[in-house]
């Protein structure tokens, strides 16, 4: 699989700090991942960069809602990817320190649980 070069270049040149990638099934889970990113950037690691990616392409309105949500949280270290190409996934996989592909759907994992899970994943590496 060929790495999507613009994405790889962007990650190389514009993104510093550890990168966490969430590859999630729906917009609600992606919103929770943004909340987790907000908590982590505020209290734990201000340099953590979060990629929140839809596993299946999202429709435009949901993608817009997520971007607006990230904007309301003043999240400057988050990249929302509503429809990732295979090459983009490769680029994210190359750079990701942690790759998380699910949150329990019902109920969504709490922020504290998700942060714990992230730390757990990180420790497992």
């Amino acid at each position: 699989m060929t790495v999507h070069e613009p994405t790889a270049k962007n990650l190389r040149e514009r993104v510093d700090g550890p990168v966490v990638v969430w590859d999630l099934a729906d917009a609600d889970q992606m919103a929770r991942a943004l909340e987790v990113a907000d908590v982590i950037n505020t209290w734990l690691r201000s340099d953590l960069f979060t990629v929140v990616m839809a596993h299946e392409p999202l429709d435009q309105s949901r993608a817009d809602a997520l971007r607006e949500f990230a904007s309301t949280l003043n999240l400057t270290r988050a990249w929302i990817v509503p429809a990732a190409e295979a090459g983009q996934r490769e680029a994210f996989a190359e750079r990701a320190l942690v790759w998380l592909s699910e949150l329990p759907p019902f109920p969504l994992a709490s922020i504290a649980e998700a942060v714990d899970s992230l730390v757990g994943q990180r420790l497992a590496m």
């Binding site: 919103a31 209290w43 690691r45 309105s61 607006e68 904007s71 003043n74 714990d116």
Partner: protein, 150 residues
Amino acid sequence: MADTDDNTQLAQQLEQRAGALRATYPAGLEHDLDEQWRQVRGRVHDGEQASVQEAIDALGARRFSVPEIEMTSSFPGGSAVHKLVTKTVERHFADLVTQLDAYADLTLRALSTLAAATEEAQDETRGQLAALTGELADLRRAFNRSSRPE
């Protein structure tokens, strides 16, 4: 990617600080964030706006017309009667269709104006809300920084 030692150190820092965070987790933060998401999700209706525009476009593509009237008849002399009636009412039908088309044009214009005004108001309201929520987020961050665990 950072090397293994850095990763281990980072992981230890994260674990310690995550523990400290859980102890001082602001009450209601999770609920507030979820509520914020519900509000944002609830007010984005681009799909609906697009379907309103599609419906208006479809309306614009339709025109009224005078239906073809069958001239033949199975009754003796029926065709002559049909022709006579058709000739009599055709002009009235044409006039009626002109009136209906004019009315449809006015209705369509009114609907288009209404849809544009709604969209404009929605954009403005969204902008105002975004500005307000941005200010709120700034305040929350300032508060978070002041109560940050060491």
